[in-house]
Symmetry: C2
Subunit: 230 residues, 2 copies
């Protein structure tokens, strides 16, 4: 097995958290081999242009690997898997705006090589859609109320990791290594402390409860119908 995993916990609450990973599991004696990976975005404030450019990048990447039609289906599948995976049942919230996620992928279009090519492209693409988002937001002024919201939202991130993430549960024997994925500073509040000023984002919370399509527009009739049917 080998894996590459990264997470950026931004200091600024206006810059989203980025997580990405790729992994390869191989059992040569059984002739088994599969790929997994993905990338997803967890903002503290909803910026629809960010969500669209991030998801649009992954949709186009899938199209480069499989051609436009099969690519759209691949993206749609990976997008949905991502939404399903980063779900916190106890909060009835998704962790973020999603992205793509795939697991136990042995082949694409019947070819191991294409699956490997896809995994490699995903890994090579982690930063491409993220850096423009960082540049758009990093210099925005930050007040205490935004910072507080960021620390509280990071609590959700950690709740997901410790309560549900397969990677964390799988890596428990080396918890110190797994916990490098934790945000550096996190807050939980309740009662009187929770009444301090905080700049929430109700629009974000709405998307976390009910994921939206970001890369498909009204022009993408068939694939959107396929998504709605299922």
């Amino acid at each position: 097995a080998c894996a590459l995993s990264l997470v950026f916990h931004s200091r600024s609450p206006h810059v989203p958290t980025l997580r990405g990973d790729v992994r390869l599991f191989e059992l040569p004696e059984r002739g088994e081999l599969w790929f997994g990976g993905g990338a997803d975005l967890t903002p503290f404030y909803l910026d629809e242009a960010d969500a669209q450019s991030f998801h649009g990048f992954w949709r186009r990447l899938c199209g480069r690997v499989l051609g436009p039609d099969e690519g759209d289906a691949l993206y749609a599948r990976c997008k949905r898997t991502c939404d399903e995976y980063f779900w916190i049942p106890a909060r009835r919230e998704h962790r973020g705006l999603g992205g793509i996620f795939f697991d136990q992928m042995r082949e694409l279009r019947g070819e191991v090589e294409t699956a490997e090519y896809f995994a490699r492209e995903v890994a090579a693409g982690f930063l491409t859609p993220y850096l423009p988002i960082v540049r758009r937001h990093w210099a925005q002024p930050v007040g205490g109320a935004e910072r507080r919201w960021q620390l509280l939202r990071r609590g959700r991130y950690l709740e997901f990791n410790l309560l549900y993430d397969r990677g964390v549960r799988f890596g428990l024997a080396q918890l110190d290594k797994v916990m490098v994925s934790a945000p550096p500073l996190i807050a939980w509040e309740y009662g009187p402390a929770a009444s301090q000023p905080v700049r929430e984002d109700e629009a974000l919370l709405e998307v976390l409860r009910e994921p939206r399509e970001w890369a498909f527009g009204a022009m993408d009739g068939e694939i959107v119908e396929f998504l709605e049917d299922d």
Copy 2:
């Protein structure tokens, strides 16, 4: 079922965290009823006098309920259960200095009434051994290096709660209520950030790896032998 649960997350790293709870489960149609509860201390810096006075209080309380000999055995059992319960396998550390913990206690000395009396006494005693500890430490000066150590150690507290605590896993459907037990601010660090000044306590870490006896001295020959045998 009814339960009372409390946790004090101290602002000062010189004041330990205190957790206590009592609970009663009853299934009248099956004639089942049992008590549970306990109290434990989680300091950031080891103060042996604190550990001794805290554990000494619970030992004496057990003695008041059952008399000195049976009381010592009850305390020793509850102390060991507490050490076993607040154990983070992935860190090979206990969460704190322990205290007492009991669960599914139907009777004491063959009497439901005595078990209930014990549970009531435990609940009534939460603050008695804690307040003198708070008074001894609350005014000690705090620097950034102590504060940082506190935030890092709180991470262990939360890891235990989310990864292992039965109360949290039992209460997942109401995670917001369960998470009031979380410390208000927590840090995880690694890499270059982890090289900032921090005032660790190696003596504390040693006790967390290998719990000690705090309430029994060399004069308590038999009970100490019993503990060592088992």
